[in-house]
């Protein structure tokens, strides 16, 4: 038969240890976060609707890599910058339900701050060279953590929505786009050409 007092002492000690460890984590984590989240400036000329500047910067870098062309020398293929993919996504997510918007922020935060560390890269994602950014994105997409893979799919889907919504990308695919507005087919309900 055991007495009640040892577990009480143990519980107090555990609580104290938890408090100290927690304070350390918060302190160190806060300092790291402070250092690692400073210095973002959004270079876009239009105000952001939804994103914080740091989110915009991270997504800007991710969009460049996600939509990177297989023929970068071909200037007829538009870039994510030229199509203002980040501007589109910024406006799009502003209409999302708050919980989805919150999850997206977490995904961007993970990509920027944590994903590089998993490969031993000590810089933020947005400060890595393009090749290293690709490595980070590959690891993100194939993460052993199911939720992280889902987060990558969400990010990728939003970026591609911002990219392939634009008629300038459709020639790459041979996609004709909506029938509405085509010559000889200007209105709803009208028969096709």
């Amino acid at each position: 038969m055991t007495s009640a007092s040892p577990p009480v002492r143990s519980s107090r000690r555990a609580a104290l240890r938890t408090f100290v460890e927690g304070a350390l984590v918060v302190g160190v984590g806060g300092a790291v976060a402070f250092v690692r989240t400073r210095g973002y400036s959004d270079a876009r000329d239009r105000p952001l609707v939804s994103f914080a500047p740091w989110e915009s910067v991270v997504l800007h870098h991710a969009a460049r890599r996600i939509t990177a062309s297989d023929h970068p020398e071909d200037r007829t293929i538009p870039t994510a910058d030229e199509l203002d993919v980040v501007g589109f996504v910024d406006a799009y997510v502003a209409r999302m339900p708050t919980p989805m918007r919150r999850d997206l922020t977490r995904a961007i935060l993970y990509l920027e701050q944590v994903a590089p560390l998993t490969l031993g890269l000590m810089s933020r994602f947005s400060e890595l060279a393009a090749d290293d950014q690709d490595r980070v994105l590959v690891a993100f997409e194939a993460s052993p953590v199911v939720l992280l893979r889902g987060a990558f799919v969400a990010l990728k889907s939003l970026v591609f929505m911002g990219y392939y919504r634009d008629a300038r990308t459709w020639s790459v695919l041979g996609y004709g786009g909506p029938w509405i507005g085509r010559a000889g087919h200007g209105s709803h309900g009208a028969p096709p050409p």
Binding site: T67, M100, E141, S157, F160, Y175, P178, I180, G189
Partner: protein, 507 residues
């Protein structure tokens, strides 16, 4: 009268015999039947009231307009995307119009296993026939087989497998291929086009842009609902309360159960929200050395039923149909990113895409999260996972038989096959289904019907076992997966239970 919440500010207090929550296939039928019988009935829909003039064939604008959560609804672990409609007409606005009755074997199993009475094949036949007349169901002409469907048919025939043309509910189809973005040509005989206007003409009042958040209950009986009037961007701009002795839930297997849970509806046997089926589906893409142009024409007109049997205990539980998407959907589906992804996208017009949909036994669950939103848990069982693997391999086999030069099975580690022999080397038996990008467009169950209160939520005519006056008239009713597209089943069961709802409204 058709009203829009966005046009109303302040508070509304309404009285009716019955209120229907959700204006998709099931809700619209109950609304129409009650209105035709002279009942005062109100219908609420969270999404907007759209016409064909609103549908502009653009993915980036139609996804947020026509789909729940802007097309981003998923299971809680983010592994299965759930595409559900919103707006007057519900998922019938964006579906691909496939019309199949509930298989006889399924109806018989519900009677045998789930104590569902009065819904045998013979008893349901009049409802199916009536609905098919309402929706102008017909065979899709063989000449309308587009490139993607022709690939499926060619592969199925080359293998000597079972396949057939499908039936649909379109009149005046222009074969534009934009079905999942709403029909610009008003050819879809959707609930929003065919059923709701009849209900309104018969005296029903329909309010779009209204999110019902609570079923009101007093002394063991429903007394109506409370909801919010939503502005153009979903912002709350007013409240509405309806006093009615009957409440009909028709907001889908996810929406209806979530509303019931959030309202604290009695659930003594913990059945509410459980027994969710999703018909989860994976895709396989084949590359051809000739143009397929899968994006043009009727998206789904041919089916492969080689791996589908409705006999109880069957190990054939996969339905295969084409699944071509517009560029944004295709880009999201293809694995990877960057230059290799763009190279794959360049094959867009030479791609054929098939989907393997599992007639599932997995029992998922709908709950309500801290934000008050539906949360979907679904962990695929090993037998279902095995079916998925068999289905994906069968899709690959069909694509090669039709002449594909390469086949890709999108996954965390994509399977890229260049010849038939590669299929046998790819072991997809009991794979981790979370590796594959899966989609569900057919949520079912969660408030299933049956005469045993210990194993069901509502009785065989849709009335809640413990709460008189509360009815269900959507896919939530189904005790099991049905293995076919559910729109005809949902319409027909709503029609089947409507007389009972009417009687309750006059009690």
């Amino acid at each position: 009268m058709m009203a829009r919440g966005r046009d109303i500010k302040g508070e509304l207090s309404l009285h009716a015999d019955a209120v229907v929550v959700g204006m998709g296939a099931g809700g619209s039928i109950v609304l129409r039947e009650l209105a035709r019988a002279g009942a005062k009935v109100i219908g609420f829909e969270e999404g907007g009231a759209h016409t064909f003039a609103d549908f502009n064939q653009r993915e980036d604008e139609m996804l947020p307009l026509l789909y729940q959560d802007m097309g981003g609804r998923t299971t809680r672990d983010l592994t299965i995307r759930i595409l559900q409609g919103r707006g007057v007409g519900g998922s019938t606005i964006h579906n691909t119009n496939l019309c199949k009755r509930t298989p006889d074997e399924i109806l018989e199993r519900w009677a045998r296993r789930n104590a569902v009475i009065g819904a045998s094949p013979a008893e349901m036949r009049p409802a199916f026939e009536a609905i098919e007349r309402d929706l102008s169901v017909s065979a899709i002409p063989a000449a309308w087989l587009n490139g993607n469907n022709a690939v499926l048919k060619a592969g199925v025939q080359a293998l000597g497998w079972h396949g057939a043309m499908l039936q649909h509910n379109r009149v005046g189809c222009q074969q534009s291929g934009f079905c999942e973005l709403g029909c610009t040509y008003d050819a879809k005989q959707s609930a929003g086009k065919v059923i709701v206007p009849d209900a309104v003409a018969a005296g029903a009042d329909v309010y779009a842009d209204v999110r019902v958040d609570r079923i009101n209950v007093r002394t063991g009986e429903v007394t109506g609902v409370h909801g919010f009037l939503l502005g153009p961007n979903g912002e709350v701009q007013g409240e509405v309360t309806v006093f009615a002795r009957v409440v009909v839930l028709a907001g889908s297997a996810i929406g209806s159960s979530a509303l019931a849970i959030a309202s604290g509806i009695p659930d003594p046997f913990q059945q509410l929200g459980r027994n969710l089926r999703l018909h989860p589906a994976g895709v396989v893409a084949g590359t051809f050395d000739r143009p397929i142009e899968g994006v043009r024409g009727v998206p789904q007109s041919y089916e492969c039923t080689e791996l589908l049997s409705f006999e109880e205990g069957s190990d054939k539980r996969v339905w295969i149909v084409p699944a071509f998407a517009h560029p944004i959907g295709t880009a999201a589906m293809l694995p990877g990113f960057g230059a290799p992804h763009m190279r794959a996208m360049r094959d867009y017009n030479r791609l054929a895409v098939l989907t393997a949909m599992v007639h599932d036994d997995t029992s998922g669950r709908v709950t309500v999260d801290r934000d008050g939103r539906p949360s979907v848990d679904y962990q695929m069982t090993l037998p279902d996972s095995d079916q998925l693997g068999r289905g994906l391999r069968a899709c690959a086999r069909i694509l090669f038989a039709a002449g594909a030069t390469a086949v890709t099975i999108p996954a965390v580690v994509p399977r890229r096959l260049t010849r038939v022999a590669d299929i046998d080397r790819v072991d997809l038996r009991q794979v981790d289904p979370r590796e594959f990008p899966l989609t569900s467009v057919h949520p079912m169950g969660t408030m299933r019907m049956g005469e045993d209160p210990a194993s069901s939520v509502v009785n065989s005519v849709g009335e809640h076992h413990q709460l008189p006056g509360l009815y269900v008239a959507d896919g939530s009713l189904f005790p099991t997966s049905i293995g076919v597209p559910p729109q005809i089943s949902i319409y027909a069961f709503a029609l089947h239970i409507a007389p009972h709802v009417l009687a309750a409204s006059k009690r």
